[in-house]
């Protein structure tokens, strides 16, 4: 099916199942521990061997000698895979990292060996017996700040828009602007830190490879695995029915998958590889640190005339920037703009996609700068943002936003949150030992939609089965996929079974870039539309005026049970939704506003969130329950980004030092107070027949700066480097002793 003009009325608009609150259809499996995750598929390889990855002990250099004799002689060991016996290893398309070190070591904890043994304990113990002699011919670069002065503007990239966007005359306008902000902000390296570690069971049957793994984008996973291990994509099947969180960290093939496949090939056994927690920090990808300079020039009435955003990040050779200027391209009006991204070469683990890449850290800088500007103007921060709303793409004024209820988000948010009770003067509200403050920030996140396929089956029992390679990393894909099919086929939700996460199912973009919900449901729509036609034919109705409701097919005055269509056997329909150029004609984005109230201990500087509100404009909300859960999950992640999350680089040894969940703190329950998420009632007909967008990444964009601005409002001390830990403002708080 082709979608190339805005949708008119569609069967989804009935909203009997779609748009309604349903708890996760697979919730019971998860709550009872019967949903099985990658490492738990014991039945597929009863004699599975265990692979244990030994990570490099240095940040940069080369392997001079690797002595595996003792490990090979250890009890239970079948094989030790190193660069000497792995066979050729390629590089995937999405990540630049090399999966196995040797002879060069590109970064700390890059895999240098995989030990394959009968038990996990044997493999781990034997890994400790491998002796690696390293050379340090190249000492490596690990310090972004030190590299910054000599860092060039990045070449153009496939993601994140232009790395060097210049509109109008930024320099001259900024220089003359009556009110200005020029500040530099830093966002540290951050870890996805999802609950389930990267894990794979790999099994070869002849030249056919099957892996039970945790990959967010199945077909990217097959493509990249094929490139890395030199096997045609068609010979690879991946299963990821359940994924215990990803946030982008399981986008496509990482070391667990590639090395399980290689170790299985070398050892002749099925092999399971689970990354231990420290490997997740220094072996796999992360969100790279950024240093961002924001320059805003405004007229006295608050209207922006000049917007400058320069962002520096580093990466392995071949890696991309963190696209922090992306949100600034569309967030506010302003005729003169200069948005640049610089890329340094750093020898740390690869920087890559993490929830709302670009928008999350970019807004962390931009939205503090807007708060600083509001203060200089003596203007309310909500009013300042309203004054600078744009309904068109500032770089192409003829390109309108498809929908952009930003002002509505701001106004409704302010109303619901009680924003008018905020005291504008920082440090103005004290309750006992607590300094209390309120802050807000705007939010934006692209609403990509990509071609996607699905297969739908109507069984002889009247049940509907949907098959698509879309994944569920916790966001609710199973539920919205099933809801879409139920709505289309006129059956209750519990008559539909959604099957996801199998690479042999029709292709979707998977879970990433908040494109999954919109794309996968559009695919299900297309396949169901086809199935409806086939059903109509079978029961002898005119395809053009047939309706599906209450488990029946209706046309004119006639009506038959849906199941009758499958009397002769299951009916199967497969289709893909292809998209025209609506995304070129319209700026398709999700927008929102975040509000936070914090309390700062006037003595110790400790910061505690009191309450938060998000108001989101994200097209049709397919399921308010799972959408809310996405948004409050994003808000929780934003609390972490604002107040505690930082992978600390040791620039001498070249690695992230605090590489476990004791050292890398994420919010615990006590850090997360009442969170409220509210959705603007809107549809976006330019997206798909569902008129829906994603919402999972919007929930993170803008959260951390809202908290940062609330902390400033509480204390009067502006902290421009995240996370805002108490040591950064302690000594500037009022004296107490």
């Amino acid at each position: 099916m082709k979608f190339d003009k805005p949708a008119g009325k569609t069967p989804i608009d009935q909203l009997k199942v779609v748009g309604r609150a349903h708890s996760r259809v697979e919730g019971q499996l998860k709550a009872t521990g019967t949903a099985r995750y990658a490492a738990e598929h014991h039945e597929v390889a009863p004699d599975v061997a265990h692979g244990y990855i030994l990570g490099a002990a240095i940040g940069k250099g080369q392997i001079e000698r690797i002595d595996t004799a003792a490990a090979l002689a250890a009890p239970g060991v079948h094989a030790v895979v190193t660069h000497e016996n792995s066979g050729p290893i390629g590089i995937g398309e999405f990540y630049a990292q090399r999966i196995l070190a040797g002879p060069m070591v590109d970064h700390y904890h890059q895999a240098v060996a995989v030990v394959v043994a009968d038990t996990f304990e044997q493999a781990r113990a034997a890994a400790g017996l491998i002796r690696v002699t390293y050379g340090r011919d190249d000492e490596g670069q690990f310090d972004l700040a030190a590299q910054k002065p000599s860092t060039p503007i990045a070449p153009d990239e496939p993601f994140g828009g232009s790395t060097n966007q210049r509109i109008g005359d930024f320099e001259a306008t900024f220089a003359k602007a009556p009110v200005k902000v020029d500040q530099t902000y830093t966002v540290p390296d951050q870890a996805h830190a999802m609950m389930e570690p990267h894990a794979t069971i790999a099994r070869w049957d002849g030249d056919q490879l099957t892996c039970w793994t945790a990959i967010q984008a199945m077909n990217w996973g097959c493509r990249d695995l094929g490139l890395i291990i030199g096997t045609p994509k068609e010979k690879i099947r991946l299963h990821s029915a359940f994924i215990g969180g990803g946030f982008g960290g399981k986008g496509t093939t990482q070391s667990d998958l590639a090395l399980a496949a290689i170790a299985a090939r070398v050892s002749g056994r099925a092999v399971k590889v689970v990354l231990h927690r420290p490997l997740m920090f220094n072996n796999t990808i992360h969100r790279p640190k950024t240093i961002q300079r924001i320059r805003l020039g405004a007229r006295e009435d608050g209207r922006l005339v000049a917007i400058g955003h320069d962002s520096w990040s580093g990466n392995l050779r071949g890696g991309r920037t963190e696209p922090c200027t992306l949100p600034t391209q569309l967030m506010y009006a302003g005729e003169n703009r200069l948005l640049r991204r610089y890329l340094a070469t750093l020898d740390l683990a690869e920087g890559s996609a993490m929830r709302a890449p670009g928008e999350a850290p970019g807004m962390m800088a931009l939205e503090i700068a807007m708060d600083e500007l509001a203060e200089k103007l003596g203007m309310d921060p909500v009013e300042l943002r309203i004054a600078n709303d744009t309904q068109v793409d500032p770089s192409k004024p003829e390109r309108r936003f498809s929908t952009r209820p930003f002002v509505q988000c701001l106004q409704e948010g302010a109303e619901r949150f009680g924003w008018q009770s905020r005291i504008a003067k920082p440090g103005g509200r004290r309750e006992g030992k607590w300094l209390v403050g309120m802050g807000m920030a705007g939010a934006i996140r692209g609403a990509p939609i990509m071609s996607a396929g699905a297969r739908v089956r109507l069984g002889t029992d009247g049940r509907i089965i949907v098959e698509t390679d879309m994944t569920d990393i916790g966001q609710g894909s199973y539920t919205i996929v099933a809801q879409t099919a139920a709505e289309m086929m006129g059956v209750p939700l519990d008559s539909v079974t959604a099957k996801l996460g199998d690479s042999t199912f029709p292709e979707t973009p998977g879970s990433g870039g908040q494109a999954g919900a919109a794309s996968a449901t559009a695919a299900v729509y297309a396949a169901c539309a086809k199935l409806r036609g086939m059903v109509a034919q079978r029961v002898g109705f005119n395809e053009a005026d047939v309706a599906f409701a209450d488990g029946r097919v209706m046309s004119g005055g006639r009506s038959v049970p849906l199941v009758d269509a499958a009397k002769e056997g299951e009916i199967v329909a497969e289709d893909a939704m292809e998209f025209g150029d609506l995304a070129k004609q319209y700026a398709q984005q999700t927008v929102g506003a975040h509000f936070a109230e914090v309390a700062v201990d006037a003595y110790t500087g400790a910061i505690r969130i009191r309450r938060m509100l998000a108001v989101c404009g994200a097209g049709r909300i397919l399921n308010p329950t799972t959408a809310r859960s996405q948004v409050i999950g994003g808000m929780t992640m934003g609390i972490g980004a604002a107040l505690m999350e930082e992978m600390t680089v040791d620039t001498r040894f070249g690695f992230f030092v605090n590489h476990d969940l004791a050292g890398y703190e994420v919010p615990v329950h006590a850090d997360v107070p009442h969170l409220e998420a509210h959705f603007i009632n809107e549809v976006d007909a330019t997206m798909s027949p569902l008129k829906a967008k994603g919402v999972g990444e919007l929930g993170l964009s803008g959260v951390a700066p809202a908290i940062a601005n609330a902390v400033y409002n509480a204390t009067g001390v502006r902290v421009r480097s995240y996370p805002i830990t108490l040591d950064k403002h302690l000594e500037k708080l009022p004296a107490v002793a």
Binding site: T604, A606, L643, L730, A737
Partner: protein
């Protein structure tokens, strides 16, 4: 993790004898610290003597007032004991400020006293660390040291004792009772129990190899108001940046000990005498000669401010 043998101790004397006589042998109680360290081969015992069958799981009154806490009493039971809550509130507060409910159920009193440092480099066997591998150097000096010690540290090691319970016990002048491999018992005041690192940071305490902790005794109650102020980056489930244990009497005198700043719970009796003069006077004396790093210098003003908070609350 290296392979090891395992046995369950039948009585304290034989447990101590076995561990004293066998290099590489170690006791295990709740295992919440030891097993984590074994998995990453920071600890590599060849033999474990499990203490769980020993009858050290009671809290009993002692003559003249005070309590004897068996070495295996869990953190949960100790914190919840009605006598502890009534008479030694600072101890309950310190314990429940630590770890999580699940961990406190498993953690024993002796194991808690002997938990090892949380320095990140200690946990990474690729890094030099004098405490883990004597003579290899100290990666934390000149490195990531935000969590580490500001006083009592040495040029060989700047780690802290990370725990909470021991800070309250130091305040209360607890005494640690032990039995060694020869069957001899001794009572070690907690003030003398933890070593300053000096040139031998590999040794945390004054215990001899195989010396088994059997109990901790608390002298009679102090009265006063009890506080445990633990400052950390998140609201729960994190080690202290700085903690303050205090008992403040109605006349403004009292006791104070700091956690998260030194190789041992940091209590300087001469500083405590300055309590009526306010927090700044106390910490100026308590942290005289401090040698913070650039990353952890904030712990000094933080200690003052956290104590000021306690003193303000004591007055309220």
């Amino acid at each position: 993790m290296r392979a090891f043998t395992y046995e369950r101790a039948k009585d304290a004397a034989s447990a101590a004898r076995i561990v004293a006589g066998r290099p590489g042998a170690k006791f295990i109680a709740g295992g919440t610290n030891l097993l984590d360290l074994m998995k990453i081969e920071v600890e590599t015992p060849t033999h474990l003597v499990d203490l769980q069958d020993l009858e050290f799981d009671k809290i009993t009154p002692i003559a003249g007032g005070g309590l004897r806490i068996g070495a295996l009493v869990s953190n949960t039971d100790l914190a919840a004991d009605a006598r502890v809550r009534r008479d030694y509130g600072v101890l309950t507060r310190a314990i429940v400020a630590g770890a999580s409910g699940q961990l406190r159920n498993k953690a024993s009193t002796a194991g808690n006293l002997l938990q090892r440092t949380r320095c990140s480099y200690f946990y990474d066997t690729n890094m030099p660390c004098n405490k883990r591998k004597p003579g290899s150097g100290c990666a934390a000096i000149g490195g990531y040291s935000r969590q580490l010690g500001v006083i009592g540290v040495s040029d060989k090691c700047i780690a802290t004792f990370p725990g909470d319970m021991a800070v309250a016990m130091r305040l209360l002048d607890a005494v640690i009772e032990t039995v060694d491999g020869d069957g001899a018992s001794r009572a070690i005041p907690i003030a003398d129990f933890y070593r300053l690192w000096g040139d031998t940071p590999e040794q945390d305490t004054v215990l001899k190899p195989g010396e088994l902790i059997t109990a901790v005794t608390l002298p009679k109650p102090l009265g006063g108001k009890h506080f445990y102020e633990k400052v950390r980056d998140r609201a729960s489930y994190a080690f202290a940046l700085v903690s303050v244990a205090a008992v403040i009497q109605p006349d403004g005198n009292g006791r104070v000990a700091f956690g998260g700043v030194a190789p041992r719970p940091w209590r300087i009796e001469a500083a405590e005498a300055l309590l009526p003069r306010g927090a700044a006077a106390v910490t100026a004396r308590a942290f005289q000669g401090a040698t913070p790093t650039k990353d952890n210098a904030f712990k000094l003003p933080l200690a003052t401010r956290a104590l000021a908070s306690v003193l303000a609350e004591a007055k309220a």
